[in-house]
């Protein structure tokens, strides 16, 4: 067991935490944050696994770098949609469904 594997395990926990957050939290800003925690967990798994057998793997690093930039754009997009929703309806939460 080396540090890369520990990173991957921490990433798995973060991913599970973020997924639970996305499913459970109703406030939209916190849901976006949970989504980001989920993404960070995935990046940590990728980077951790790539360096468990020796020097870091540049292919995975490049992939995660690409992923981080796309995650920033996705977050900005989600925030823009939340703002639009707030401007149109005044709500910042997911509405309760009737069957729950």
């Amino acid at each position: 067991m080396n540090s890369g594997l520990v990173f991957a395990m921490a990433g798995t926990l973060l991913f599970a935490l973020g997924t639970a957050g996305v499913l459970l939290v109703r406030a939209l800003f916190r849901r976006i944050l949970a989504f980001n925690v989920m993404g960070s967990g995935a990046f940590l798994v990728l980077v951790g696994l790539a360096q468990r057998t020796g020097p870091p793997d540049p292919v995975t690093q490049a992939m995660v770098l690409t992923g981080i930039v796309v995650a920033v754009a996705a977050t900005a997009l989600a925030l823009a949609l939340v703002r639009r929703l707030h401007a149109l309806t005044g709500r910042l939460e997911i509405q309760q469904r009737n069957d729950e």
């Binding site: 594997l5 690093q61 925030l79 703002r83 639009r84 401007a87």
Partner: protein, 219 residues
């Protein structure tokens, strides 16, 4: 009830994945060695830049496309936001404005350095673009420049330029038969050209994600 189910499944998921991680065998393909072998023909000396711009160039091409798409959707979804007077911001005070103006030059120098350094050490278009975007946001927050209420032709050209340049290079290389396979002798210059375009566009796109929305939403 639902909360308990979700938490239990998340914990079970994490447990199973971690148990599998511990049993993982060593990778069959040694990617770092493969990349190291091909560095001499990539046109750059840093492995991450070589992967991003050469070996897996289409990832980067699609990425800048996705970013452009996000900027366009943000522009479409924001409604009609009025141009805002930056001097009305609470942070718009002369010392802060002077500081923001004074940092502009060094930040551009840092961005160009990062772009240039990407060829042989960590750095490259993304980092340089992030610095440029931070500069634009800083200038707005200090009350020096306004938000981007009505993107004009120059801004639109800047937002799309990097993607179109990259696409143009990729398309012209199709003559040689394969998408994004640079000729070895020109690979370095082509990568620098693409990265320069990407830096400008990435900086503008990342800044626009903030500055398109930087106004009170319509009431």
């Amino acid at each position: 009830m639902r909360a308990v189910a979700v938490i239990l499944s998340a914990a079970a998921f994490a447990g199973i994945v971690i148990a599998q991680l511990l049993r993982l065998s060593t990778p069959v393909v040694d990617l770092p060695a493969l990349v190291g072998e091909r560095i001499p023909v990539s046109g750059v000396a840093h492995p991450v830049t070589a992967v991003l711009l050469n070996f897996r160039g289409y990832d980067t091409l699609l990425e800048i496309g996705v970013l452009l798409l996000a900027a366009v959707i943000v522009l479409a979804a924001r409604g009609d936001e009025p141009a805002m007077n930056p001097a009305a911001l609470p942070s718009a005070e002369p010392p802060i404005q002077m500081f923001a103006r004074a940092t502009t030059g060094p930040m551009i120098v840092v961005a160009v350095y990062l772009l240039w350094a990407g060829a042989y050490q960590p750095g490259g278009a993304f980092q340089a673009g992030a610095v440029l975007a931070a500069m634009a946001v800083l200038l707005y927050l200090a009350g020096v420049t306004g938000n981007w209420a009505k993107p004009g032709m120059a801004l639109r050209a800047g937002l799309t330029g990097g993607f179109l340049l990259f696409l143009g290079v990729a398309a012209s290389l199709l003559i040689r038969g394969v998408l994004l396979q640079y000729p070895v002798e020109h690979a370095g210059q082509l990568i620098l050209l693409i990265e320069a375009g990407l830096t400008v566009s990435l900086g503008l796109i990342l800044a626009s994600l903030f500055l398109f929305l930087a106004a009170d939403p319509p009431r």
